[in-house]
Subunit: 132 residues, 2 copies
Amino acid sequence: MSRSPTRVTDALRDEACPVTEVLDRVAGKWSIGILIAAAHGPVRFTELERPIRGISRRMLSLNLRRLERDGLLVRTVHPTVPPKVEYSLTPMARELHASLTGLVSWAERHRSAVAEARAAYDDAAKRDPGAG
Amino acid sequence: MSRSPTRVTDALRDEACPVTEVLDRVAGKWSIGILIAAAHGPVRFTELERPIRGISRRMLSLNLRRLERDGLLVRTVHPTVPPKVEYSLTPMARELHASLTGLVSWAERHRSAVAEARAAYDDAAKRDPGAG
DNA sequence: CTGAATCCTTCAGGATACTG
DNA sequence: CAGTATCCTGAAGGATTCAG
């Protein structure tokens, strides 16, 4: 996953794929999951932490900030005790969410197909290592 | 397996988590670019290397193999001299390509918006580091 | 409850050189 | 032309701890 800029390739990357920069906002391990989870409405920190299994508090926090910074999430703090913070998608992110669900549905439709392809590929390679 | 009636839980636990595995096939720095470039039709190695500026031969090779292994690309070797190898999308990948172009067009539409959001966010943080 | 700070590991990806 | 092999860096992410 691509992350932050690398030196030499920076200019080139910008030249070839202006989009990659923006696409990278969603390229992390958790971004898509967070956006999908947050799309259900104003959601609290712990309400995100629970369903997104496996995510650490740290990564949730970091991704939340980045998403907010990129104008994809809105963070609302309620000055109560204990503190209550809610996250929701911006209109821009809602558009993105539509495309994301497209991706997700594709992934669901082809989950097993991909698994089978990999198995077949590996098996073929094992039986015939020299082929190509 | 908490069965609490949260709005977020069902959707994400069943949707995003298993999906992430498949989505990760596309999550690399170059995968999307490669798929989009290869969508034009049968494309040779160097024909991919050129437009996808900044990609190293190594990464192109690695990603090509992974994409092939996952059943997204077909690799066709023509036994000629010099060697000629062509890559094209599988039907499954063509479906994916449709979703991908959706993502790309979103990214193009909102490229500047994201940049501005980031600038505003950073600026606000700079002037008022304690807020939140 | 909602984070921030710190330390440590893993691994994608870059540079470079070699090959059929 | 179309790759492979090796070495290395830097960023992502996990575990744990501290705090408002």
